[in-house]
Amino acid sequence: MTSNGFRRIYGSHPLHLLTLLAGFALCGYVLVSIKPMTLWNPNVWWQSIAVWFAAAIIAHDLVLFPIYALADRVLVATSRPSAKLSFINYIRVPTLGAVLTLVVFLPGIIKQGAPTFRAATGLTQDVFLGRWLLLTAAMFAVSAVVYGIRLATVHRAAPETNAEARNTAHDDLAD
């Protein structure tokens, strides 16, 4: 069979198939090595490796993405794309910073695993919630200051003939 005939039936080059088969076989070896029994916890189903792996597969695409995409659509819908200076990114950036730190450092912030934490470090997780709130406050405050400066610059730079930009900036502030 020629490579073309193969491509018609399979849908890609033979190398594509060889690569995938090698990868699947390696993955199979991983499963055999870990022993499938290890993947399942018969007592507490959600504390199974298999369940956490499955959750990891959908964690971004079917959980995080719909949430942040929807939130962003709402944000964008309230703005005017033609505006010379849009407020959108001044909200997006600190929000992303706050949410990223919240998600990554959630165990400390909500004091999960306190006994293990104490045994390992001799300390408590008491400070983390406050620190995260301060960090979040700082990020939004810096964003507000930068946005304020940019607004002022746009006002000053806007010549008499370019009243539209000025009006848009006013509108955004009024939003």
């Binding site: 991983v30 993405f65 992303l96």
Partner: protein, 411 residues
């Protein structure tokens, strides 16, 4: 492409740029992780998980020089892993329209490739999630972190290698489809979508841009830099430690000689005064007859001082000044001047790390100590009083605390 997708930035160029960053950085995270397994000493059966068959790098004696080797290895593994979180998320965002393509596959090739993406995406996020929980001592997942993180890595490796092999040509053409210099010069108003192609990543009816491409790159890069700034302090130490504001190892215990980070407290290890007080003895075996020493005899021996880092698998490290008796002196005293290995046992009654086997080079290094003092003070109970092991470049947890016996093995 479905009209649901509206971002004017998605396209092969952006995906290729993010992909090329991960192509370089993820192998570093992976290899340092696999090296850490070797550093734990699989030749002594003390790497976890125990028997991994062929799923490991070739075993070799982990070096003792430079003394910061394990510190660097784990700093890179954990630090780079954290820094890449925004890049991984951006990459997933950039390709998400492909997930919802209907019908899901038009050929066997496409179907198989999509199955392999489960290994890639599941693997990377599983590794990030378990790793992030582990460095914060949150074991809500219930299973063995070591087992899950290690085998999870191999599932990721399989998915990653497939993905690279299949996608590198596309990534290359993607990178060359636009000039980076041009992108960096283009503001939001002048940002245009990449050319539309059916079944590609570019939206068929894109919205006007709300951010330029350079802005999006700055956002992702800034996110990575931000993660670096708030985590690197746990590895670098010194005054930077306080910048790790949300990490356990950014916390301060005080300014005294024994106030550096503890890995397991004496209370948690159930170390009581009658285990470590006047009745404590160090037993050296392996020679013609056991040698038993008390702490006074140890302090009377010639002492050696070394400034060495202690670095944890979790990525944090701290460099302190340790004083004690060189292990090779103890080996000589025991009657085994050239040991092949040494088995150290703690008086800690229970605990996965109340013992460790050291390689010959780890016993014989001049700076390898049975430390009695740190920073000119006696060790505190939390740091292993009356005596602990400190060996250059060894995984932190193998520097056994509250040592009760050392068996020097000639073969």
């Amino acid at each position: 492409m479905d009209a649901r997708w509206r971002s004017p930035l998605r396209g092969r160029w952006l995906t290729s740029v993010l992909g090329s960053v991960l192509l370089i950085a993820l192998p570093i995270v992976t290899i340092t992780g696999l090296l850490s397994y070797i550093a734990y000493g699989p030749q002594f059966g003390q790497a976890i998980p125990g028997d991994v068959g062929w799923l490991k790098l070739p075993t070799f004696d982990w070096p003792t020089d430079p003394s910061w080797l394990y510190r660097l290895n784990q700093g890179l593994h954990v630090g780079l892993g954290l820094v890449l979180i925004p890049v991984v998320l951006a990459k997933l965002w950039s390709v998400i329209p492909r997930l919802f393509v209907w019908p899901p596959s038009r050929s066997i090739a496409q179907l198989l490739e999509r199955v392999s993406l489960l290994m890639l995406v599941g693997g990377i996020l599983f590794e990030i999630i378990t790793g992030v929980l582990n460095i914060q001592y949150d074991y809500i997942f219930g299973f063995s972190f070591y087992t899950a993180h290690y085998y999870g890595a191999w599932v990721f490796i399989a998915g990653f290698v497939i993905h690279i092999a299949i996608k590198i040509p596309r990534m290359w053409t993607g990178l060359r489809s636009m000039s980076m210099r041009q992108v960096l010069r283009t503001n939001r108003e002048d940002t245009r979508p990449e050319p539309y192609e059916p079944d590609g990543l570019v939206a068929s009816e894109p919205d006007p841009p709300t951010i330029s491409r350079r802005g999006a790159l700055a956002l992702v890069g800034g996110g990575a830099l931000f993660m670096a700034v708030i985590t690197a302090g746990q590895t670098i130490g010194g005054w930077t430690r306080q910048t790790a504001v949300l990490l356990p190892r950014g916390l301060s215990r005080g300014t005294g000689p024994n106030d550096f980070a503890v890995n397991r407290t004496a209370a948690a290890a159930r170390i009581t005064p009658d285990l470590t007080g006047e009745r404590w003895r160090l037993t050296l075996t392996g020679g013609p007859s056991p040698v038993v020493l008390d702490r006074t005899m140890l302090t009377a021996m010639s002492q050696h001082t070394a400034r060495l880092p202690i670095a944890c698998v979790e990525g944090w490290s701290t460099t302190e000044t340790w004083t004690g008796v060189p292990l090779r002196e103890l080996a000589r005293l025991a009657g085994v001047p050239e040991p092949k290995s040494a088995f150290v046992r703690s008086v800690e009654p229970r605990g996965a790390f109340n013992r460790a086997t050291l390689q010959a080079n780890q016993v014989m290094h001049p700076d390898s100590l049975l430390a009695l003092r740190v920073n000119d003070a006696d060790l505190s109970p939390d740091h292993g009083f009356p005596a602990r092991i400190i060996v250059p470049a060894m995984p932190g947890v193998h520097n056994t605390k509250w040592v009760g016996s050392i068996d020097f093995r000639a073969k």
